[in-house]
């Protein structure tokens, strides 16, 4: 028995943004289109639109993160919302009980949205299932499961450079096993209809049954990069490794590190991406990270526009609204 998609309200509009899985191509394209509208806001004198004025957005971070939290905060402020940052160390919240108490306290303070980052997969879904009906939840990253805003800003970046997804060969390289970004990107790329999707990494870091999600699996970097248009490098996640998954970083770099020589297997105009932060000399050579094919810095700037889009889309629907009105503003 499957649950209904809790991300969508009864009219099929985005109510929570928890995972790319379960969203259709049209919705993903709309997110990208809205993000494009918001991209210009940062270049104006007043870097704000009043869309979410009077709303309170809470950054509920159970896992520390400066960069993600900062972009969500900036996105919220550019929508004129008020922002509350709450950092709860995961040792303080051992059981779901404290998590629920925290939520209820925040709800009593009339918050409208939670941006959640948590160390355990499924945390954002759990919270979305527990909050009051008017509150939207955005997943800022849960365990190994999903980081949908990161995936969308990467799709935004790809679209800037390569507008037609259907002609693209995309490779995701690295620690797929522990990566929520990889999982979200695999869903996004397959839903957007790329020509071919590949994951490349050592056997120990490619999870069982990943083919069911769409990609072809490669263990050889040169072969995997052949003819690709987009290379997405993942960070080696030391802090998530428990058992004996890799011998040494040195060995990892020699086999899977992206150097100019390895990159030469891809198309000459291939773009190189990395969700950050970069481990120079471990998964990517500095000359590639800073080279002309790298779009890594652009990814960062797109993050704000994408997060603005997602926040506006989820907040713009209440439980009792009908469909959005047609064009024309007869006022």
């Amino acid at each position: 028995m499957t649950q209904t998609n809790i991300q969508l309200d009864k009219n099929g509009h985005l109510k929570h943004f928890l995972s790319i899985y379960g969203l259709d191509r049209d919705l993903l394209m709309r997110i990208l289109d809205h993000a494009r509208s918001f991209a210009g806001v940062g270049e104006r004198a007043v870097k704000k639109v009043p869309l979410l004025r009077g709303k309170t957005i809470v950054n509920l971070f159970f896992e520390p993160s400066t960069r993600t939290r900062t972009t969500f905060e900036l996105a919220a402020k550019r929508l004129s919302a008020d922002v509350l940052n709450i950092n709860i160390s995961s040792s303080a919240t051992k059981k779901g009980e404290s998590l629920l108490d925290t939520l209820q306290t925040l709800e009593a303070m009339h918050c409208d949205m939670f941006v959640v980052r948590h160390a355990k997969s499924g945390a954002a879904h759990y919270i979305a299932g527990k909050v009051a009906p008017h509150i939207s939840v955005i997943n800022g990253g849960d365990g190994r499961h999903s980081h949908p805003t990161q995936a969308m800003l990467d799709m935004f970046t790809i679209r800037q450079h390569k507008p037609d997804f259907s002609r693209l060969k995309v490779a995701i390289v690295g620690d797929i096993l522990h990566s929520r970004v990889a999982r979200s990107e695999i869903h996004a790329l397959t839903t957007l209809g790329v020509e071919e999707l590949r994951v490349i990494g050592p056997r120990t870091l490619i999870p069982t049954g990943i083919e069911a999600m769409g990609p072809r699996v490669f263990h050889n970097l040169e072969q995997g990069l052949e003819d690709v248009d987009v290379v997405i490098m993942l960070r080696l996640q030391h802090e998530r490794m428990r058992s004996a998954l890799l011998p040494s970083e040195h060995e990892y770099f020699s086999l899977y590190g992206l150097t100019p020589q390895k990159l030469a297997n891809a198309k000459p105009d291939a773009i190189v991406m990395h969700p950050g932060p970069i481990n120079r000399g471990i998964e990517i050579d500095s000359s590639v990270a800073d080279g002309k094919q790298s779009v890594i810095l652009q990814q960062v700037s797109h993050g704000i526009a994408v997060r603005m889009a997602v926040m506006a889309m989820t907040m713009g629907t209440l439980a009792d609204t009908g469909t959005a009105t047609e064009s024309g503003h007869e006022d």
């Binding site: 289109d33 210009g40 004198a45 007043v46 639109v49 503003h329 007869e330």
Partner: protein, 169 residues
């Protein structure tokens, strides 16, 4: 339900003349023209052509400034606002197709001020109809219409531009 087509061509010709006059009335202020999506940009584009203005036409999409966002949500098709000039100290000719409650113009002015501080805003509308809910007035008008409640006037286009009056319901 009845429809009535009216000649837009003549109204725009007339408006162009009025715009010219209002620009000349403030010779020390450098003029720019901004149309409000979608109908306003069609009208503005026609006037902009007739006046052969050298500063390119600006476009405003007021979607993010509407006062009913929390009721209606994000519009499915939003083409972004674009002002290819600096608005500071300029005389802005703001153009829309129909002036009704005044809320669109309120939103447009709020948005303009987030780009900078204009010296003056003159409002040019193709149709000024009854039903104002805010203290907003047009400086340049193509035609004034008094409509019954339940009647709506709409500009269709972009080619050809035509006005249609409909009764809703």
């Amino acid at each position: 339900m009845h429809t009535e087509a009216m000649s837009v061509e003549g109204m725009i010709e007339d408006m162009a003349g009025q715009v010219m006059a209002v620009i000349k009335a403030h010779p020390d202020q450098s003029p720019v023209m901004v149309g409000i999506h979608t109908g306003g940009t069609w009208v503005a584009s026609e006037i902009h052509k007739r006046l052969a203005m050298d500063v390119p036409l600006g476009e405003l999409n007021i979607a993010f400034y509407r006062d009913d966002f929390s009721r209606i949500g994000m519009h499915p098709r939003v083409s972004p606002s674009r002002l290819p000039f600096d608005i500071e100290d300029r005389h802005v000719i703001l153009v829309d197709d129909v002036l009704y409650t005044g809320r669109t113009i309120r939103a447009a002015m709020n948005e303009l001020f987030d780009y900078g501080r204009p010296a003056r805003i003159s409002l040019a509308v193709l149709i000024d109809r009854s039903g104002r809910e805010l203290p907003i007035q047009a400086d340049i008008t193509g035609k004034t219409m008094a409509l019954n409640p339940g009647e709506h006037v709409k500009l269709t286009g972009p080619e050809p531009l035509a006005l249609v009056v409909k009764e809703s319901g």
